[in-house]
Each structure stands twice: as structure tokens, then as C-alpha cells.
Amino acid sequence: MDKQTLNFTVNGEPVSVEIEPHLTLLQLLRDKLELTGTKEGCGMGECGACTVLLDGKTVNSCIFPAIEVDGKNVITIEGLTDEQGNLHPIQKAFIEYGAVQCGFCTPGMVLSAKALLDENSKPTEEEIRHGIAGNLCRCTGYIQILQAIKAASKQT
């Protein structure tokens, strides 16, 4: 099949790329755009390490066709700091509450948390657990991640 041109924004910046149509969004981000913050944990949409925001909603980029982002707005972990390089309150809270150990699940986890808080700024513990249920973590046991998101919700 012929290559396709995509025009979309990544972290607020307009991007135009030519891709093979079978590419996943994760491959587009990591290999073509060299945004390696988004991780591949399973390649099957089961672990959430590849979570990015597409028009504000979480998607598992490892199973999401890249061609579907045409005309849309993608946010990756690299896009969370502001123009001055200040950390997002969720990132600050993750650091302060010990929610980061090996860090491999962290980018996906932070973006799922952002999607949750953008939609529901004062979630209950149950809602937070549900909001990150699709993000697996093997190091932290989730407790400090839940604490961090709760703390961040008080600041946004």
C-alpha cells in the first residue's frame, strides 16, 4: 500500500509525517518522532504503558492505528510540562509521594491520571482506582500512586 501523509498536533506542535499505513501510533511516536517517553510494555493493549491522550481521551497507542490521528491532537508525557518547563501538578505529586520506582509504567500512569482529573477534578478513591485500572505497575503496589493522584486532585 502507498504511504500516507498525516497532519496532526503533538503536544501542541503541528506535525506532518509520511507513514506506512500499518504503523501503530506507538511506532509513529517512538520511531518516527523520537518521542521515547511513551513505552511499549506488552504490544497488546493490556498494560497501559503506551497510554497517550488523543483529543483528551486515553488510548493504548500500541494497538491504535497511526492513520487515525490525522487531524487530531495527541498529548504524550513529554507534553505535560509547560512552556517554562514547570512540572504538571500530577508529575509533582508523583515525585513527592513516592509513586515512581522503576518508572516504566509512569508515563502511561500519569497520562491516565490526567485524563481522569481533567474529566473529574475531585474523584473518590474508587474513581481513581478505576481511572488507572488499565495501567499495570509491578513495583509500587499502586498505593503511593493513589495517594499522589488524590493529592494532585486537590491542586487542579
Partner: protein, 763 residues
Amino acid sequence: MEEFINVGKRIPKMDAEEKVTGKAIYIHDLKIPGMIYGKILYSPHPHAKIVSIDTSRAEKLPGVKAVLTGYNIPPIKFGVYKDNVPLKAKKVCSLRDEIAAVAATDPDIAEEALNLIKVEYEILPAIFDPEEAMKEGALLIHEEHVGGKEKKPTNVLNFPWRLIAGDVEEARKNSAYVAEDRFKVTWVTHCCLGTSGCLALFDHKNNLTMYSITQIPSLAQRDFTEALAAMGLKNKKVRVIKTMIGGGFGSKLDTYAFEYIAILLAYKTKKPVKIIFTREEEFFATSPRQCAIIDIAQGCTKDGTLTFRDIRMILDNGAYTSWGATVPSVMMMPSSSLYKVPNIRFSAKCVYTNNTYSQAMRGYGTPQVTFAIDSQIDALAEKAGIDPLDFRLRNANMPGDVTPQNFKINTCGLRECIDAVAQKLDWRQVRGRKDGRGVGMASLIHVGGGARVYKSDGCGTIIKMDDFGTVNVFTGATDMGQGSETVIAQIVAEELGVRVEDVVVTHTDTDICPWDVGAHASRTTFVAGNSAKGAAKKVKDQLLEVAAKSLGENPENLDIRDRTVFSKKDPEKKSPLGKVLRAAHYAAGGSMVMAEYFYDPPNENLDRELKGNLSVTYTFGTHGVEVEVDKETGQVKILKYIAAHDVGRAINPMLLEGQVYGGATMGIGYALTEKLILKDGKVMNPNFLDYKMLTAKDVPNIETIVIETNDQFGPFGAKGVGEPGLVPTAPAIANAIYDAVGVRIKDLPITPEKVLAALKEKG
């Protein structure tokens, strides 16, 4: 109690910002110009002779740079028993055996090339049951392997796993009550979120650089040097550089076939070769926790004093030998020393089968054997008519004890842990109703002051300071997410009188960093911490010598606090650290402020009887659980989870809690949901949908209790805590289920099906 500035503080992990912004580089993210990709072809049969391998079509595929098989690689033997080779040539013994490897310009081409490799097999019958494989005349996995006194061909490995203390037979006769059971624990796997991988490259002189996520950089360097020698590359250098590591938990305590394959491909193609495992490979081609069949008997007197513990184990060793076969050496620790038991007999047999083979996993055998021991303690207490809480208190280890394995117990907060858990669970009020809700507890003993499993248990540190007060610490330790770099920085800052943010810890490069035996046995805070503290003390002494001259004071009267050297007699006599540092070398006849310290703890190797003070100090803990069991579905819900740990001192309470939460969650999975399902040697659930790890919805609220016993040997009193979090989890849950509904499940995981079946049988 001393007042510390940096120790005991909830300081965020130093690399957290890098990780939370996506800037951290893991092996998956590493790109080197000219890099090509390696992929591995695995055996489709659990047991077969290799008749022929035809790689001609694969070699011709555009983009393929090399194809290797067992026929065209030099003899490299690896593994604990040296019974494994990177690519098999004569036969395959399991479904994860590596047959061939391809290096190509992109991973998809490499994958396609694998499909073009034609292998002819002569299928052999296979054996998957270790009890069958042990029998006389059983099918042999490795025909040349002989064992036993008569040196006959056998599947039973030649490991000396036998520990005897006292007289178990006599003690059994004199016991008022005896409990005897068989417990079974199965394979579970590490599930690191970052899959395995490496990047190998040779320079123009054939020196090797390995970008790696190993937990044993110094030992890996040795293994790879041996491999190079086997490849005809003698006297070549090996440099191991660690990227950020996406999880360890023991999975990276050995060197693996894929690493040797990457090295061989890099040498053949003269290009950097990267191999990254898919998640499926991570499930079926990495080594899980050692499974075991455990026959155990324990006895006590009429008043509940333990009299003996008799354990016989059969370990399915799988097709090749890695650390799984050595877990009995650590299983002996709770066997001989969890609670006071005077008469011990322990034996373990490791048996070759055509299953997967096991490796180290957090706890290293102690979760397995503690499940058996501490589940049965409850059963024994019931026979004796004694509350399991009182039974444990009666038999609890005490400071100063010497156990039957000759472990010298220093600090011991076990009683405090048991009491704390009982209090939080409201034990006396809640227990014994058998109304669907129940409470249970279990304890742990683990090494807390290093562990001399190799000849050395040491770690080196080099510290240098620049002109402005930045402290560069080069440590042999490995940080795989647990936070050792932060803890080391806190210890150095405390010792030196600077702030944590002044300290930069480097641990990533064998060219720069000193030797360390590895991140295992929960030893890093204790050993690397003591090593860093020792080096910091030397640096401090140098600084005080230099400052003494300019301040006109005796060095003994000087101290450093918050980046300032001052006289204890007259605190107004002071000098900022930067000034002292510049005065040191920026003068005629100057000197550098720099020191090194190698700390090898005063512990012992186990002797021929497998006794000896393996660790300088031991750590203890108790977990307590309240569960609710649904009698209709068999579902077990955890209502309360209390984890009490004797940690010596919490250098960083926040990171410590992270280890306990993470460990307990892994332990709950071990107890209730996780199983690597093997059928006829094949992993049936190599994905996250079918392998049930706990998610954020499943984890209960875990409460941690930190007991500080202030150990004299630990850095600022600290003991290790990396593994203890999941050692007593399964028996605590099993005991709670028994209290709730009166059934005892003796094989993990405790699934709803098993609970229902047991309830049905109970009637």
C-alpha cells in the same frame, strides 16, 4: 535518639523527575548509529533431537546481516551448572530453547527471517512431572548427566541440599502434637514492565561494550569476559553500562542466552546489535520463580513449644540450571530459623524435566517455604488448642539467639511486629467466628545485613568532591527502581554534613564504578550504604585536616554541618566547604579530596554442613490479614492488610513503604491470582490478560508499621527490606481464609475454584 538531617527523611527518589517527564532512557529507548536488531527462533518441541538446520533462505532475505545457529558458534557454556549454551545444536530440551538467531536492519525483517529457517527434528518423548523424572529408569533430559554415589545417569542434580540440626526423629517421638502436610507452590513470573533486552557492540580492537539492565554488572562483566575467551578473544575488555532499568525483582541476577546471542551477532556483523524481548517472550523465555513440592512436618509440646521441623522438597528444575536450583540454600533460612525450633531436618532434590527453568525471584525461595511453614504453624496451634497469636509469641525469635543453622540474631523486632499486627486486627475480638470473615497472620525471617552467597559480599565506593561542594559518589550498587541511589545519597550527605541535593550518585558503568557482587538478598542499603558511609567518613577526615590549617584548630575539634566546617568549641570559627575544597588542591603541594572504601560485611559462607552466620543481621516481620470469603463463589476479599517490619532504621520511610507496598502486592498475587500455566511444557498464558497481576482496582489498602530496632551493624542502624514484603503474604492470607470458613488450601494460588472445592468437600 539522634537528630538526623538527611537520614529518616521522606526524600523523593532522585531520578523520579527524569522518569515522570519521559526523559529517562531505558534499554528499549537506546539508539546507536548503525544499530541492527536481533531476534531469536525458539524450539517448537519440548524434547527433540535436532536433525538439521537450514538457514539458507533466511540468509538471502534483504536486510538480514547474519544468521547464527548452534552449528556455527563457538562453545560458550553458561548458567549455574554450565549446562546451557546460547544456541542448541544437538537437541532441544524445552519450548524455550534457542535454535537460531538473526540480525537484520529492522525487527520485522529479522522476524520474517526466522520464519524462513527450516529445522528438522526427531521428536522425543518428554517428561513434565519431577516426581516421575526422579524415578529409576526415567527418560533422561541430559543423557550425559550422572549423579549420586554410583555416578549413574540421572535427572536428579548433584546439589548438597541437606541440613540437619539436632535429632528430628527423637523430637518427633517426644512431641505432644504433630502436623504433617504436603504444600505445592507453582511458577509465577516477575512481570517487569520493561521487558528484557541488551545492546552489544565491539570497538575496532574487539573490546565489548554491553548496554544492559543487569543487576550484577561486575559478575556479568566476568561472564562476558569468559564468553569472549571462548570466542577466541582473549585479553579483551568488557564494559557493562546500565541504562535505566524497568524492574528487576531478581530477574536480572544471571546472564542469559539472549545476551550471548547479541554478543555473537555483534561480533559477526561488526555492528551494534540490539535484542528486545516481546511481552510474549518475556513470559515464556525468561525464568520464573522456582516451583516446589513441599512435604513438611512440625511438632510441639503440650504447651505449644516447637520441637522439630522436618522438610523434604522436590524442585522441578526444568531443562537447564539457573538460580532456581540454588533456592534451597536460602529456603533453609526460614526452615531452620523462623521461630525457635531446636531440631531441624531439611532436604531438597532438584530434578531435570522438559519444563521451563527457574531463576531468582524476590524472596529467593523464602515465600515458597514460608507458605508451608507458617500455614502449618496455624494447623499445629489448632491441634494444641492454642491461639496462633500466642503460639507465635511463645516461639518468637529473640535478640541474641543463635539458631540451629548458626545464625546469630542481633536486633530482632519480631515480637513487636506480631503484637502490632494483632492489635491492628483486633485479633482477640475478631478471630474464631468462622462466619465468612477471618483473620490470619504469618511472619518472616530474612537476611538483613548482606548475605555471603558468593565468596564476596562486598561493595566498593569512590567519592570525590569538586571545588564547589558537589559530592560525586561512584558505587558498585545497582538501582533498579527501589531507590538505592537516593538512600546512598542520604547516607553520604548525613555523614559528610552536606545536603542530599549536593550528592550525585553514579552506578551505571563498570569502567568507572567499583566492584559489587550484585543487587540481591536485600543487601544494597546495608552493604552499599556502609560502603558509602565508610568512604564519606574518609572524605570528611580529609576535609577536616585541610580546614584545621586555615581555622587554626585541631581536626578533632571540627565538624561539618550544612556545607560549613566549624569549630565545636567556637562555632563562629567556620569556613564554607567550597573554600576548604579549593584550598586543598589549589595550592602549592596540594592534595585531592577523594577516598574509596570497600565494605565486605563480617558474615560467613555456609560451611560443609550448610551452617554459618550467612548475614551480619537478620530482618523480621509479620503480616496480618482480615478476609471475607464468599461461600457461593469462593472469592476472597481482603478487608484489612497490615504489614509490620523490623527494618533497623528507615533511612527513607517513603521509599521503604514503597518496597513494602510493592512486595505485599506481589505477594497477594502469589497467594491468590498469579500462575504461569504450563501444559506439556508450554506456557499457556503468556500475556497480561491471562496472567493475573493485581491492578489498581484489586490492591487492598495496605497499612505499614515500621519497627526500628536500630541495628549496630547497619548504616545508621538500617537493615534490608527489599524482599521481606512478600515473604509472609501467602500464609497470612491462607490462615485468614481458614479462620473465615474453615478450609485450608495448600497449593497456590488460592483460587475461588479451590476454595469452593474445599468447602464442598468439607460439607
